[in-house]
Amino acid sequence: MTQPGEFYQRNRSVHPTALTPDYKTSVARSPRYSMISLQNSVSEITGPRFGHGDIDAGDNDLLTNYAKADESPIGERIILHGRVLDENARPVPNTLVEIWQANAGGRYRHKKDTYLAPIDPNFGGCGRTLSDENGYFYFRTVKPGAYPWRNMVNNWRPAHIHVSVFGSGFVQRLITQCYFEGDPLIPICPIVQTIPDADAIDQLTAKLDLNATVPLDSIAYKFDIVLRGRRSTLFENRLEGN
């Protein structure tokens, strides 16, 4: 008999470390002591669950969820779609995926953003959805623009969409960013380059997916998200193999 057990140890070699000085804000916001390693208890294995009562059906459509009737945001219309999987390549169903982004000109609808590119009156910039039973999700939106930021004098973020995912246990919680294939800003971005592993950066780069485009309507990008995997069992205090 097997039961789901603890999550696999996080593979820190694919993640940024806390202290990454080229991304300047990390210097004062990174712990200096080592983390204490904690084997999973009920506090770590469990996590919040969300249902269709928590969100609305149109929350995943950024082309319409803030637009006035019969209007739509300006920009390249895209579909962002993919699956939420775990490290065992199993789908993660019914999990909450939330996104946020700048508009086509790189301006965020946030009271702290003062970039001179204008707000789009028909674009809010956030969306959310639940993955289906196969882990699949999609959003409709406009492709965000590049965005300047005060790090070094002339730093520009590549076009990106922020992505937040839950999984089934609180220790699977993940926030990341989705980049777009072929963007020349990716290799020179200090935030992207906090990631030590080139393959891990590629894994955050959505690929043009012509098969999923809607002809004469929207172009599509594919973005799969991988969360931590889980052992099969913890049986009589003894770990069974997976």
Binding site: N11, G47, E87, N88, A200, G229
Partner: protein, 206 residues
């Protein structure tokens, strides 16, 4: 060469950035878009137990409060059960146990109301002292930080808590223990999180 184990690799974390509110707390960013924002009500209307408030700041290595931080909290109900199929037992109808909290843009102060959680089951045997699990993201934080908050009026339970006892430097355990005071008859627990430097809060690789 050998066979490929064929596990996938977890997607790499990236900072939540300064505009995390747009996605996770749009009202704070300055616009209303959703029917309801998530994470405002941790307990629901039916939760039993002591109503408490928890407040604090997240402080950087310069001693300055972080004003664009977002915290999520995950906790058991007063009986020590999580709202999850593997959570140990039944919870009250509407009890969620999860909350999302942002700091004030001017002061960096944050606070939320909830019920005090009960003792939870230990990893293999025994019990864990009442605690809340925190996950902290912000601009400049590349991967969410996990920590726990314990209660200073649970001296006995804290002394036998298996996680606190994992921390070899006994004086660092105090960084996880919130200080109780009373305001208008309600227990208020103060939990300042120090990201770096003197009295750095203990963070966990969970």
């Amino acid at each position: 060469m050998s066979q490929d184990l064929a596990y996938l690799k977890e997607s790499a974390s990236q900072t939540a950035g300064p505009y995390v509110h747009i996605g996770l707390a749009p009202g704070a960013a300055g616009f209303d878009i959703y029917r309801q924002e998530l994470g405002h009500d941790i307990t629901g209307p039916n939760a039993k137990g002591d109503r408490i408030r928890i407040e604090g700041r997240v402080i950087d290595g310069m001693g300055a409060p972080i004003k664009d931080v977002l915290l999520e909290v995950w906790q058991a109900n007063a009986n020590g059960y999580y709202a999850h199929p593997e959570g140990g037992g039944e919870v009250e109808d509407g009890f969620c146990g999860w909350g999302r909290i942002i700091s004030d843009f001017d002061s960096g102060e944050w606070s939320f109301e909830t019920v005090k959680p009960g003792k939870t089951q230990g990893r293999n045997v025994g019990t864990q002292a009442p605690h809340l699990n925190f996950w902290i993201v912000a601009r400049g934080i590349n991967i969410g930080l996990n920590t726990r908050m314990y209660f200073d009026d649970e001296t006995e339970a804290n002394a036998s808590d298996p996680v606190l006892n994992l921390i070899e430097w006994a004086h660092r355990r105090a960084t996880l223990i919130a200080q109780r005071s009373e305001e208008d008859g309600m227990s208020v627990y103060r939990f300042d999180i120090q990201l770096q430097g003197e009295n750095e809060t203990v963070f966990f690789d969970v």
